[in-house]
């Protein structure tokens, strides 16, 4: 890992930390969101894990009671954004171009262009990826990682950082666990081994009680935040 070299000229100190720059901007976003009174959730997970569907379900259940907005991060196209838009909520598409993650910069730009004062919840759907988003704080209140059983029961241990740094883990599509030969409990155990305090939800769109628990978790987190408990 170490390349050694001989200094031949003179040394200029720079000391520029690129991730710190992102974190500084994320703090600004956090401040902006706090002023607007919005509770924000960053939803991360692989392509096809069910992020968009879970957000849709939460929007359907909560948009009658609360003012809900969503940022939909896609590399290109706007399929996810149009799914949220159809539900009648404020939707902000975020095409990342070549990027594999959303960063604080993108969110900062979007927050400048979109005043979210008066909104209660902002869903931020990250780009489908379990690795890159972990390096980029957006300024959100809550980080959620979504994995589906179809990704295999070793998916959790393969991506330790995201489970270490998330506030909630969702194991999705449990209705097909048997068909894909996966025991969701293995995934739960692995997630707990990485982060013993992380709350874990087992969900399936086909099991309404699990969707209700997902929605309730988001609503409770938002209400707690509004009550100043976290």
């Amino acid at each position: 890992m170490w390349n050694t070299f001989l200094a031949t000229g003179h040394i200029i100190s720079i000391g520029h930390d690129f991730f710190k720059e992102n974190r500084k901007l994320a703090d600004k976003n956090r401040e902006t969101l706090k002023k607007s009174g919005v509770f924000s959730v960053n939803i991360m997970g692989a392509i096809g894990s069910g992020k968009t569907t879970l957000i849709e379900e939460a929007i359907k259940a909560l948009s009658g009671k609360y003012k809900v907005a969503a940022i939909a991060g896609d590399v290109i196209a706007d399929m996810d954004a149009s799914r949220f838009e159809k539900l009648g909520i404020k939707t902000i598409p975020a095409n990342t171009g070549k990027e594999c993650h959303l960063d604080a910069h993108i969110v900062n730009d979007l927050l400048k262009k979109n005043d979210l004062s008066g909104y209660d919840i902002l869903f931020i759907e990250n780009v489908g990826n379990l690795i890159c988003p972990t390096d980029f704080d957006l300024g959100e209140d809550m980080k959620i990682v979504v994995v589906s059983v179809s990704e295999g029961d070793d998916i959790v241990l393969k991506h330790p950082v995201i489970f270490k740094t998330s506030d909630l883990a969702v194991i999705n599509k449990i209705d097909i666990a048997e068909a894909v030969g996966v025991n969701p409990e293995t995934m739960v155990r692995d997630a707990k081994s990485l982060n013993e305090n992380i709350p874990i939800l087992l969900t399936s769109k086909k099991q309404p009680e699990t969707v209700a628990a997902w929605v309730q978790t988001i609503e409770n987190a938002m209400l707690e935040k509004k009550a100043g408990k976290n």
Binding site: M1, W2, N3, T4, F5, A7, T8, G9, H10, I11, I12, S13, I14, G15, H16, D17, F18, F19, K20, K98, E99, C100, H101, N129, I131, C132, T134, D135, L157, K158, P160, V161, K164, T165, S193, L194, N195, E196, N197
Partner: protein, 122 residues
């Protein structure tokens, strides 16, 4: 995974510092990589070399240094985790990140950086 865009930002920082100091050539660039950041120095170097073509940093030598994580535990411990070898992969490394005093899982508070420390110029 995102080395290319990071390399673009890094190179911009290198070239700005080089221009401000009237550099004719950048001999070397010293970079610190937090062990917990998802950055692969080999890929990063490849991207930097490619982006640096045709600039004063064209022939720069890159040196990378890993920064070990700093951890904080509920038991009150704050500092470095137990020393681990260089050859451990990310997974083993993270799973083994526990408090050296009480053995519980810890919060990582450092080792996530990507910093251009300095450049050596003529």
């Amino acid at each position: 995974m995102h080395e290319y865009s990071l390399a673009v930002d890094l190179m911009e920082s290198v070239l700005t510092a080089a221009a401000e100091n009237d550099a004719v050539t950048v001999n070397s660039v010293s970079i610190k990589v937090g062990r917990i950041a998802h950055v692969n120095p080999i890929q990063l170097e490849f991207c930097l070399r490619s982006i640096g073509e045709g600039t004063v940093a064209e022939n720069a030598v890159y040196s990378f240094e890993y920064v070990e994580p700093e951890i904080k535990c509920l038991c009150g411990y704050s500092g470095k985790p137990n020393v681990l070898g260089d050859d451990l992969d990310m997974l083993e490394y993270l799973v083994s990140l526990v408090c050296p005093e009480c053995g519980k899982n810890v919060e990582v508070i450092g080792g996530t950086e990507l910093t251009v420390e300095s450049i050596d110029i003529d």
